[in-house]
């Protein structure tokens, strides 16, 4: 099935990114919050950002899989990261945000507390993840970045979403 890439992230790009890109290898990250923590995912994996829709529940799914939505004709599963990682307050209202990700040729919706920014980070600005310190298993963390004194946990979103514990894919696909 073909995927239409949406322009949302293109508009959200910051000028900052360009300046740093010239300096070295800088990647852009979409940052979002889960409770008190701030996370980032590779912007190239983000297809669009949208509000929370009514979902259709799916039998035999874990609680954090809210169900499926219709995204321009494609059936897309929605994961609530707040439930999955026991972070933040689980509410659904007009401010609830969903990041639509493109992962392993699949589309997944991810509910988070809020989307904050698009930041560019040089590889030098990223340190390996310590053994503890976040609610998410270090296997799914690419590293820790620091931006203006803030700590940013960079997720290996592809690995997380394809993992067996997310139960998003048939075993055969992994």
């Amino acid at each position: 099935m073909s995927m239409q890439t949406h322009g949302t992230h293109a508009h959200a790009k910051h000028g900052k990114g360009e300046a740093q890109a010239a300096a070295g290898i800088a990647n852009e990250y979409l940052t979002f919050t889960l409770g008190e923590e701030e996370y980032g995912v590779d912007i190239l994996k983000v297809q669009e950002i949208r509000g929370y829709d009514t979902v259709t529940r799916i039998p035999e799914a874990p609680a954090f899989i809210k169900g499926v939505i219709n995204l321009r004709g494609t059936i897309v599963p929605v994961v609530d990261m707040r439930i999955k990682f026991h972070l933040g307050k689980v509410e659904y209202n007009q401010f609830t945000v969903m990041i639509i990700l493109n992962i392993a040729k699949r589309v997944v919706g991810m509910v988070v507390d809020g989307v904050s920014d698009v930041l560019a980070l040089n590889d030098e600005a990223i340190r390996p993840a310590p053994e503890f310190g976040s609610s998410i298993d270090t296997r799914y963390i690419r590293g820790i970045g620091t931006v203006d004194q803030r700590m940013l946990i960079l997720m290996d979103i592809e690995r997380l979403m394809s993992s067996e514990e997310m139960a998003l894919m048939d075993r055969a696909v992994q």
């Binding site: 529940r57 039998p59 004709g73 599963p77 894919m169």
Partner: protein, 684 residues
């Protein structure tokens, strides 16, 4: 600008494969003698010629050399300088195989099978080296005149026609659907402008409809205006066919080349030559017409088109829903009406568009049937049997996806019929039958389904043998089983009654796979068999995989779609008919039958308990011979839904066969009735 030619390589490969198939078909037809026309040889020649041309361009030198020899040989046959012997046909058929192998090798960038190529080249040169025999004594029948090419219709409405609400435009549209329509208006009755009454019809028309429509079909279109017009329907006289003498004369099979295998496939040459000739000519014309007016488009493009149209349908449904709310809104009524009219028109157009786009994916059954003449020929030769293959309804259209998936099961069934169904010529003679057995492949539309039959006139299934085997395998056997129940055993995994295992069939792998494949396509298989008379296997398939007729039911806040072909009935149960069985849950009594009753919300873990069960609805499902009663809150309606895959972005879910998008944009899950009945019968 340089053109990257390699991009077209795949096109060449695809087209060449099609050309080979055309060659194969033509050659098999030649071999059957009687029906072959000069045009058939010409078709084979053209196919070989275009492969040769492409091979040169794309650097397949060896293919070029082989097809050059083919072309030379075929050219001699075409111009009646050389006879079409069965030996030559066999070599030509071998060349088809070899070239096919060369194409495969080329695609995978492997080396050609040098031995096969050398052997073929030698065989071809051998034939070419021998002096061409004089043209045969018996010319192939000149193509008979086709009965009718269409209808000339003289339609002169009476002046008051419009006042019955009938419109010539509608009639023309309907006719245009049956074939190619030419409309000529006759203005003779048109009075001078001042005398014209706007409500009267002054024109009359002469219509030429070219196509296969019958007189009844044409007359049917005019049924409503009978008495309101003068009408004459006449067949269009076919143009006198004047075959060039040279072309009409192709050779009769004289078994000169004794070094080749004898043709075992029966040649019903003398059967009904005239009729066959006529048909063949018809078909050739139709095929040529089809060739020139089609383009090659990738399936992905078509599918993305279908997807988009699906979206359009949903958007349109949303618009319509919103327009329903306009009543309350403060809006200029004239403007509102315009908007509503626009939406109504959009609605019609969208649906037409949907139909049109879906039809693009449809292919004629011929796509699947066309490979069988070769399969049957080769297999019959191997088994020493005489077989005539008949195909009917090749033009029946079916979704490409379904056709592709049905080829393997059909192949298996045909092989089975040939191997087990048909007797040897001696046995048939002893049984007082024609030595040559018949296998018939038949396709037809029946309602929303396509029915495909594989029939043979062989020995039929042996009830005793099947029962004995079933017993040996420890399957539940009763003497009073109906034939139908007994035949079902052959669909069990590993079931075979063959006395000896052959490499054709008989290892017992297959019939279960055949059945499973067909059921997966949403179809069903039935067997009819009569000892000594033969066996008919009937496959019933949905027209398309993309759309299904569903019943939408509500459970709590969720809507589920149950495929209509699994729904037996729905009813509101009387309180006394619902009983609790200890430890087993509930059952419902429906006409003396107790069925397991499961609330849908329990099955799917969604929705909520119905507060008053007596107000709920019981839907009785039947799949794979098992029934199950499910309790839902409400029946919402019946609708066609576009099936969307759930596992393209998620995984498979037990009990769910897919999803669809409702008019309001929400997603509804489609119930997998087969899985449900299977699970429940295991649990019981």
């Amino acid at each position: 600008m340089a053109v990257d030619i390699s991009r077209f390589r795949q096109v060449f490969l695809d087209e060449s494969r099609e050309n080979l198939q055309a060659m194969e078909q033509g050659l098999l037809k030649l071999e059957q003698g009687g029906g072959a026309t000069a045009e058939d040889i010409n078709t084979i020649f053209r196919a070989a010629h275009s492969i040769k041309g492409g091979a040169g361009t794309f650097g397949f030198a060896e293919i070029g050399e082989v097809t050059h020899l083919l072309e030379t040989l075929l050219d001699q046959m075409r111009s009646a300088k050389r006879e079409v012997t069965s030996g030559a046909v066999t070599v030509l058929l071998q060349s088809v195989d070899v070239v096919r192998g060369m194409l495969d090798a080329g695609e995978k960038e492997r080396a050609n099978d040098a031995q096969a190529v050398a052997a073929l080249t030698e065989a071809l040169q051998h034939i070419l080296g021998s002096a061409p025999a004089a043209a045969a004594a018996r010319p192939v029948e000149a193509p008979a005149k086709p009965a009718t090419q269409g209808w000339r219709i003289r339609f002169a409405p009476h002046a008051h026609l419009l006042r019955s609400g009938n419109e010539p435009g509608r009639i023309f549209r309907e006719l245009a659907r049956m074939g190619s329509l030419k409309v000529e208006a006759d203005l003779a009755r048109l009075p001078a402008l001042p005398q014209c009454e706007p409500e009267s019809v002054y024109l009359s028309w002469t219509l030429s409809l070219e196509g296969a429509a019958t007189r009844e079909q044409v007359a049917d279109v005019f049924a409503w205006v009978e008495g309101d017009c003068d009408l004459a329907i006449e067949p269009i006289a076919p143009a006198a066919a004047e075959p060039k003498p040279a072309e009409a004369r192709t050779a009769a099979p004289v078994p000169a080349a004794a070094e080749t295998a004898e043709a075992v496939v029966d040649k019903p040459a003398a059967d009904k030559p005239a009729e066959k000739g006529g048909k063949a000519a018809d078909k050739a014309t139709a095929e040529r017409a089809a060739e020139s007016s089609s383009i090659r488009v990738s399936v992905e493009k078509v599918d993305s088109l279908i997807n988009l149209v699906g979206e359009l349908v949903i958007t349109e449904a949303m618009l319509k829903q919103i327009s329903g709310l306009l009543d309350g809104a403060e809006l200029d009524p004239a403007l509102a009406e315009k908007l509503l009219n626009g939406i109504a028109q959009l609605d019609r157009n969208t649906r037409d568009l949907q139909d049109a786009v879906m039809s693009v994916r449809m292919l004629p059954m011929d796509f699947a049937f066309s490979r069988f003449p070769r399969v049957v020929r080769d297999l019959a030769a191997k088994l020493g049997k005489k077989v005539r293959l008949r195909t009917e309804g090749e033009q029946t259209e079916l979704d490409k996806g379904v056709i592709e998936k049905i080829v393997d099961p059909l192949n298996h069934l045909v092989r089975n019929s040939l191997d087990h169904g048909l007797e040897t010529p001696e046995d048939r003679r002893k049984a007082g039958k024609d030595e040559t057995g018949t296998i018939t492949l038949r396709a037809a539309h029946q309602g929303g389904n396509v029915v495909i039959e594989v029939a043979d006139d062989g020995r039929g299934l042996s009830r005793d043998k099947i029962l004995a085997t079933a017993e040996k395998r420890g399957l539940p056997v009763r003497e009073d089983m109906t034939d139908e129940e007994v035949w079902q055993f052959i669909f069990m995994p590993g079931f075979s009654t063959a006395d000896k295992v052959t490499d054709v069939s008989g290892r017992g792998v297959g019939m279960d796979v055949v059945k499973r494949n067909i059921v997966e396509l949403g179809g069903q298989v039935d067997i009819e068999s009569e000892v000594g008379e033969g066996t008919t296997i009937t496959i019933r398939l949905p027209l398309t995989l993309a759309i299904l007729d569903g019943m939408s039911v509500r459970v709590g806040d969720e809507i589920f779609i149950i495929p209509l072909n699994f729904v037996v009935e729905s009813l509101q149960p009387a309180v006394k008919d619902v009983k609790t069985v200890t430890g087993r849950g509930r059952v419902v009594k429906v006409r003396d039958e107790y069925l397991t009753l499961v609330p849908m919300h329990e099955l799917y873990g969604v929705g909520a308990e119905v507060p008053r069960p007596q107000e709920a609805i019981v839907v009785i499902l039947e799949a794979e011979g098992r029934k199950l009663a499910v309790l839902v809150d409400e029946l919402v309606g019946q609708q066609q839904v576009v099936i969307k895959s759930l596992d393209s972005n998620y995984r498979r879910v037990h009990g769910v066969s897919g999803a669809t998008i409702l008019g309001d944009g929400r997603v509804a899950l489609i119930v997998d009735a087969g899985a449900l009945t299977r699970t429940m019968s295991k649990a019981a």
